[in-house]
Amino acid sequence: MPDIADLGLKAKDFKTDQEVRWCPGCGDYAILAAVQGFMPELNIPRENIVFISGIGCSSRFPYYMNTYGMHSIHGRAPAIATGLSSSRPDLSVWVITGDGDSLSIGGNHLIHALRRNVNLKILLFNNRIYGLTKGQYSPTSEIGKITKSTPMGSLDNPFNPVSLALGAEATFVGRTLDSDRKHLTSVLRAAAEHKGTALVEIYQNCNIFNDGAFEVLKDSDTRDDWIIRMEHGQPLRFGDGTRAVVRDGNGMLSIADGVAEDDPRVVIHDAHTDDPSYAFALSRLSSIDSRYSPMGVFRSVEHPTYDEQMAAQVEAAAAKAPGDNDALNALLAGADTWTVR
């Protein structure tokens, strides 16, 4: 991390004059504050940072960030950001999206951005509901969800965004919580440090249409029982410390209670193994009511990034034979010409 002193940016430097228009109590406020608070750490001039969003309550985000920004159309932000990042690798490009924006209409762009490993930081505000359109169920809503569009309950199995991302060859996947500023910031930091596409799922409360979706992870009485904090190199113990993620007999991951200090079955978290199977297994631990939620960085591995390689090909080609006017004149003429006098 470059020395923050360099630019001396402050959180307030990232605020705009636009009035924030989320409902009072919306989890988006906390995320906005956390991001604005974190930005100075990047020590990147504001003009080199771009926030691109789709459509949704969450996607209003760019208007509130005093950087370059685009509030695009529903689901397309990853594609638009791919074009920007791959044509301008010098920029720090952030994508803001919701669970409907990124996993419903935008699902294809998301998984392709992940497999390409374009240098994007994607913040997925998951409130398990369509907020802006006033409360239909989303691809992350639990089965049987009663909403305006599903009066008898929804029928589709929800996506597990982390599992989906890992199935799509993601090189970085993290998860955090709107209300835990410290943790949120730490995951943003890890994502920012990652070269390539980083997906950060942020559990976000929509207090109007899906209030309390993540309450068990927030309530001080229950949260420690259900949050599995992942720190690279640390054992996956949680709760009072006797709860842990272990490898059972047939090698699968599961939760065990009352595990002894020295129990060899306890899994030591390794976010850097190249085989995504381990991170995938972790992602399956949590139940849809978000008990046993691993929080932190599931996976973070270095692969070549799309934008760098694209730039490299352009440079290599130019190095081999510069694309000057003469070159272009020669190209236009081609091999077979004839002259009329």
Partner: protein, 634 residues
């Protein structure tokens, strides 16, 4: 033996065979030699949608037509003077297009009962008199090829593959074409595999010598070079010219180019071509779909690139929503639509002009987009540069319309020099433009109404744009009713103002006498009927007009490069004529726009056959209009 040489002013040759027989390559080579020789020419490749349609079937026939002359010509020709048919299916599929007295060169090798039956021929047309009205040369092309390659190690199968080169050799002799180019070409193409290279060259030469020596060809023909404007020429296809035009536009604008595209026939070749030229700072991105293709381009435009997306009808339909965003963001973006037969998947490898109204209206809300159209293969180059000029000057998405006919067809092209192309230098915003140092992304240039293009990386100009309606000047979200009305009209006005920068239209009417009510700019003739066109119908319309004129009637031709907005002088020109006729390969899309704007009772002459108009058919239709004045609306 020595043969007598006959002079011809023009010839139309069609080579047809299985899609596996290399007909397109054969045609390309003959075309190159003909171009090098200096004839004017036009070509028309025609092939099935399947990669390798089943051998020996009508559906599998692939053909290539080339028209060359000692004078300037406009189309690949309506009916071949010479047809080379490599198998029965090729003969049957093309027979209908042959005029009486045409020359037929047939490879008899596949004329077995089975093969004939397969395409529904009960008797052998070579013997049953079917071909009596033609000069038929029944030749054992395949066998002669095999004989010529007898002492190579090639299998019969591989050797047989060279029969197209044998045919090419024969044609080159017949029309006194140079041969060096082809020999070189083959050596390069098969450098990796000398055996194949030699086989092809041997077959090629064998074919040439066969022509020289055989009795069956008494005469050799000559078509003198055509007199063209001095300069260096090459043969070029529309898609290649379009790709080159984009590269040139990038160079002249000083911007890096970014192409976001998803493959689709007949547009894919533009992606293929541009991906070869990274050295010019060109990035090509094969996206997961058309929406991502244009989305990525729009992102690159936001970042300061000359952004381009290429597709055909079905893909353009998918881009509609994003084009609307581009209109709202007011960022430069060139959208190339290489039209093909529709609706839906339609006829992917056939040509059509039926996306004009989609380009004009295919998105939600009032979202005006300038439209320009290319009229011939070489013209795709200039059209691409003009599309880029408008996009960059007015900060707007622009539609560039081409179609399968000119995309794959080719013609001689006067090679321009980069230095003399239009200067497209573009200025990014560098300074705040609002009160006390703020930046207003929607404060417009009073002349063009274009908004400033401030790209990320520019300190002090940080700003946010989006698809929700925005306040004039500041660009902040605004739901204000009057502001919305103002912005809607301003976006329209910006596009309308493009017309102020367009050169005067030039009507082609060579007829002498007093200009039609004081007609100007070439319209100085006596014609009472104007044929108005756009896009690839330029050639057929021009050829039809020539026929009509040489038949003694007067007719004026006007072809539009700019369809949205229409040029300012169009209305006055239309008013000068008693009748305006609009031939289109659709059900009358330009006619709809012309009638709506000018209330001129324009007559639609339409064909939707997946093929270009035949000049003589079109001439006939136009004659009816000139005489009866009216043709029932299509």
């Amino acid at each position: 033996m020595s043969k007598n040489v006959e002079q011809l002013d023009q010839v139309v040759i069609r080579i047809a065979g299985d899609s596996g027989d290399g007909m397109q390559l054969t045609g390309d080579r003959f075309t190159q030699e003909t171009a090098m020789f200096g004839n004017d020419l036009a070509t028309f490749p025609n092939f099935p949608a399947e990669i390798r349609a089943p051998q020996g079937t009508l559906a599998g026939v692939s053909s290539f037509q080339v028209h060359f002359a000692d004078h300037d010509i406009l189309t690949p020709g309506d009916r071949p003077d010479v047809l080379v048919a490599m198998n029965p299916a090729a003969l049957k599929a093309n027979l209908g297009d042959l005029p009486k007295g045409a020359t037929l060169i047939v490879d008899t090798h596949d004329f077995t009962d089975r093969a004939l039956a397969r395409i529904g021929w009960t008797s052998n047309p070579l013997e049953d008199g079917t071909l009596d009205s033609f000069h038929v040369h029944s030749l054992e092309l395949t066998k002669m090829t095999l004989d010529a390659l007898a002492d190579t190690e090639l299998s019969r199968k591989d050797a047989g593959r060279s029969k197209n080169m044998f045919a090419l050799g024969l044609l080159c002799w017949m029309y006194s074409r140079p041969t060096e180019g082809t020999v070189e070409f083959v050596q390069k193409k098969f450098a990796a595999n000398p055996a194949i290279a030699n086989a092809n060259i041997t077959a090629f030469k064998a074919g040439y010598h066969f022509g020289e020596t055989t009795e069956s060809f008494a005469v050799q023909y000559e078509v003198k070079p055509s007199v063209q404007k001095p300069g260096t020429y090459r043969n070029i296809s529309g898609n290649l010219a379009l790709a080159y035009g984009l590269i040139a536009a990038a160079k002249r604008s000083g911007l890096p180019m970014y192409l976001g595209a998803y493959p689709i026939t007949p547009a894919s070749d533009i992606l293929h071509e541009l991906s070869k030229h990274k050295r010019f700072g060109i990035r090509t991105f094969q996206a997961e779909d058309e929406i991502a293709g244009i989305g990525a381009s729009l992102g690159a435009a936001f970042g300061g690139a000359l952004a381009v997306t290429t597709s055909s009808g079905p893909g353009i339909a998918l881009k509609g929503e994003t084009i609307g965003l581009a209109v709202s963001l007011e960022l430069p973006l060139v959208i190339c639509d290489i039209q093909r037969g529709g609706p839906s998947t339609g006829l992917p490898t056939k040509t059509e002009q039926s996306d004009l109204l989609q380009a004009m209206y295919g998105r939600n809300g009032e979202a005006p987009v300038p439209i320009i159209a290319a009229q011939s293969p070489g013209d795709c180059f200039d059209a691409a540069i003009e599309a880029a000029r408008i996009a960059l000057t007015y900060r707007t998405p622009v539609f560039l319309l081409s179609d399968g006919y000119i995309a794959n067809g080719s013609e001689p092209w006067l090679v321009p020099s980069v230095e003399e192309l239009p200067d497209l230098t573009t200025q990014f915003a560098t300074e705040p433009n609002g009160p006390d140092g703020v930046f207003w992304p929607y404060l417009r240039d009073p002349q063009t109404l274009a908004r400033p293009w401030a790209v990320p990386g520019t300190p002090g100009l940080e700003h946010r744009v989006g698809g929700i309606e925005k306040a004039d000047k500041t660009g902040n979200i605004s739901y204000d009713p009057d502001n919305h009305d103002f912005m809607v009209r301003t976006r329209q006005a910006k596009v309308d103002r493009i017309a102020d920068t367009l050169p005067p239209l030039v009507v082609d009417d060579p007829s002498g006498g007093a200009p039609a009510n004081g007609g100007v700019a070439g319209g100085g003739g006596t014609a009472r009927v104007l044929v108005l066109g756009w896009g690839s119908t330029y050639g057929p319309i021009g050829a039809a007009c020539r026929q009509i004129r040489s038949a003694g009637a007067a007719i004026a031709q006007l072809h539009l490069r700019h369809i949205n907005p229409f040029p300012n002088d169009l209305g006055a020109i239309l008013a000068r004529y008693d009748k305006v006729v609009i031939p289109e390969m659709n059900l009358g899309q330009l006619a709809t726009l012309i009638r709506a704007k000018y209330l001129v009772d324009a007559v639609s002459v339409t064909q939707v056959r997946g093929l270009p108009f035949k000049a003589d058919e079109l001439a006939e239709m136009l004659q009816t209009v000139i005489q009866q004045g009216v043709i029932e609306h299509a």
